[in-house]
């Protein structure tokens, strides 16, 4: 796939001086900062947590690898996301991603949300360099570090897959599904 981070990029090296080109290399600054206060806060106190009673769209997201599961309900008023809520069992990355996603897209148009879905996915998989290329992600760039953690990319993306699925009224989505149009390449994890 050619996108797998090299050993060097992932900060692996030997003690021995003979291997000094590999030692003390650290390009994991972003992932080191992954568990920063904003993510921990959204994990502790998720926003828009629950389910909408009269949802116009809903979808279930599931990551079979770690058992992450979330259900998303939303109300579309024309093209505008009038209300959105999620609930489920997941790791902190997934829960914070869902919480921040709902807070961000609430009140936005469906088309703007789809743009964010694409940009978030590209950032998480390393296709979008959030520091150099234009985007609309704002504070969502706190998740950029997952690109160095191939097994955790799915955790961050799951809520966004689920939102995409909900727009298209797909009953349930999975980050494992090969035919999922939002299926993200995750290196060789």
């Amino acid at each position: 796939m050619g996108k797998a981070p090299s050993l060097r990029a992932r900060g692996v090296g030997f003690h021995t001086s003979t291997h000094s080109p590999f030692s003390r290399v650290s390009t994991m600054a972003d992932s080191k900062q992954l568990y920063q206060e904003v993510i921990l806060d959204h994990n502790r106190k998720p926003r828009n947590y629950g389910a909408l009673d009269n949802a116009s769209h809903k979808a279930e997201g599931h990551n079979p690898l770690c058992g992450d599961h979330l259900s998303l309900t939303l109300n579309l008023d024309g093209e505008r996301i009038d209300g959105i809520a999620f609930r489920g069992e997941s790791c902190a990355i997934c829960k914070a991603s869902a919480s921040m996603m709902t807070a961000t897209v609430k009140g936005k148009n469906r088309a703007d949300a789809e743009t964010l879905i694409q940009e978030f996915r590209d950032m998480a998989t390393g296709k979008l360099d959030w520091q150099k290329q234009p985007h609309h992600l704002g504070r969502l760039t706190v998740f950029a570090g997952v690109r160095d953690l191939p097994t955790r990319v799915k955790c961050a993306i799951l809520p966004w897959h689920t939102l995409h699925a909900a727009f298209n009224a797909v009953a349930s989505t999975s980050t494992e599904a090969e035919d999922d149009p939002m299926h993200a390449p995750i290196g060789d994890a």
Binding site: H15, G67, C91
Partner: protein
């Protein structure tokens, strides 16, 4: 800092020089993002010592050709080295005869071989197969496939809250339709050591053959298939300081003789015409095609290495590590050990209150500590405990008490971050 029990340390130091052993493992010198690697994922795959790496290099450099085929020198050398590896493995598990040792790609293929070779021939409609809640998916799914194909039924022996098999419930599952038992020796998810000798004897008294999934036992304790009297015993090379892509199926010669071949191809035949094929003798009947010759020879070197240290010493050191880690974790508020069987191998599955195992795993990795997180390919075990996943530290003989301290410090750090 936690106090290392120095009495314990010095007592073992005389018998077991872990630092000398560590010097044999080049990968243990790695740093992960600047931190010394603390490798505690040995139940998933163990690391390879230099003598095994050297053996692979020597084979590829000076001995490689295809086996059991040509008359030239290299082919004869490769054949004799491959068969010598089989002898080493037979000795390692005390098989009665070398022909009872079949090279496979790993435990999974070994179990699939028995399912196809034995199950499809001798298990039919209405027959019952007994498994346990503890099983790895590799000892569940093949039997489900067989049950679906044949209209057979799977019965499952349950466990208690400590993760111990309920032996009396196991015994109650037997009836006249019981045709096969599959049970793991040591649980990969919880570390439980099952009372397989008793379970085998109980099944045999009712004429039922038993397959033991020994993937987590063979690397950590002395296995004697004659003493156990099991019909089949499966394990993998890569959990045993050997290469990936190689594993073993031990089968009693009489059982192997009765079985049908698993894969068809070269090397597993005596003669082929379009009218009729005559199969080779065991073990070759089950080794179709060119096997992973280098990996088999590497595994032979791995069991030499382990035997030179001594499986009993390995087991004793690992038990020290497990006991020390268990003691430390039990003192930590907010950390729960999953799997508290009285008899355990060096597996410590745990949950940190309020923190998903994948977050635990990612944060421990930032401290250089490699653990497994997830369902450990044992979802029925997770369902039994009502949890989606655990974090699992699994120890090998090259791990140290200081590495246990690094794990404990890492868990404290996780609690601080999520506090």
């Amino acid at each position: 800092m936690t106090a290392i029990p120095t009495a314990l340390k010095s007592r073992r130091a005389a018998a077991f020089d872990v630092e000398r052993i560590r010097a044999d493992f080049p990968i243990l010198k790695l740093r992960i993002d600047g931190k010394p690697l603390v490798y505690l994922d040995n139940a998933a795959s163990s690391q390879m010592p230099q003598p095994v790496i050297d053996r692979l290099v020597r084979y590829q450099t000076t001995q490689h050709a295809n086996i059991h085929r040509a008359v030239h020198t290299l082919s004869e050398t490769a054949t004799s080295e491959y068969e010598e590896a089989r002898r080493k493995l037979a000795r390692f598990i005390n098989a009665r005869e070398e022909c009872e040792v079949i090279f496979t790609s790993g435990t999974t293929e070994s179990i699939n071989l028995v399912m196809h070779g034995y199950g499809r021939k001798f298990i039919g409609t209405g027959d019952e197969i007994i498994l346990t809640t503890l099983e790895h998916h590799s000892n569940i799914v093949p039997w489900q496939m067989l049950a679906e194909e044949k209209g057979a039924k799977i019965r499952v022996a349950p466990i208690n809250d400590a993760g111990e098999l309920l032996v009396d419930e196991y015994e109650k599952l037997f009836n006249e339709r019981t045709k096969f038992v599959g049970v793991m020796h040591v649980s990969n998810a919880l570390g439980t050591i099952n009372p397989i000798k008793h379970m085998i004897a109980f099944a045999h008294a009712r004429g039922v053959p038993v397959l033991i999934d020994g993937a987590q036992a063979a690397p950590h304790m002395h296995v004697d298939v004659q003493d156990l009297d099991c019909d089949f015993y499966a394990f993998s090379g890569h959990k045993l300081c050997g290469p990936t892509g190689i594993g073993i199926l031990f089968g009693k010669a009489a059982a192997l003789e009765r079985m049908q071949p698993f894969k068809g191809g070269g090397d597993m035949i005596l003669s082929v015409t379009f009218e009729k094929t005559t199969y080779n003798t065991i073990p070759h009947k089950f080794e179709a095609g060119t096997p992973p010759i280098a990996a088999a020879i590497g595994l032979g070197a791995a069991v030499d290495y382990l035997s030179a240290i001594g499986m009993d010493k390995i087991a004793a050191h690992e038990l020290d590590l497990l006991n020390y880690a268990t003691e430390q974790v039990n003192r930590m508020p907010g950390v729960r050990i999953i799997g508290t069987a009285e008899k355990k191998a060096a597996v410590l599955s745990f949950q940190v209150e309020g923190v998903h195992p994948h977050d635990v795993g990612t944060l421990l990795n930032q401290d250089g500590v490699a653990v497994r997180t997830g369902h450990h390919c044992a979802q029925p075990v997770m369902q039994r405990f009502g949890i989606p996943a655990t974090s699992r530290a699994s120890f090998a003989f090259y791990n140290t008490l200081a590495e246990v301290d690094a794990l404990i410090a890492g868990i404290r750090n996780v609690q601080k971050i999520f506090g």
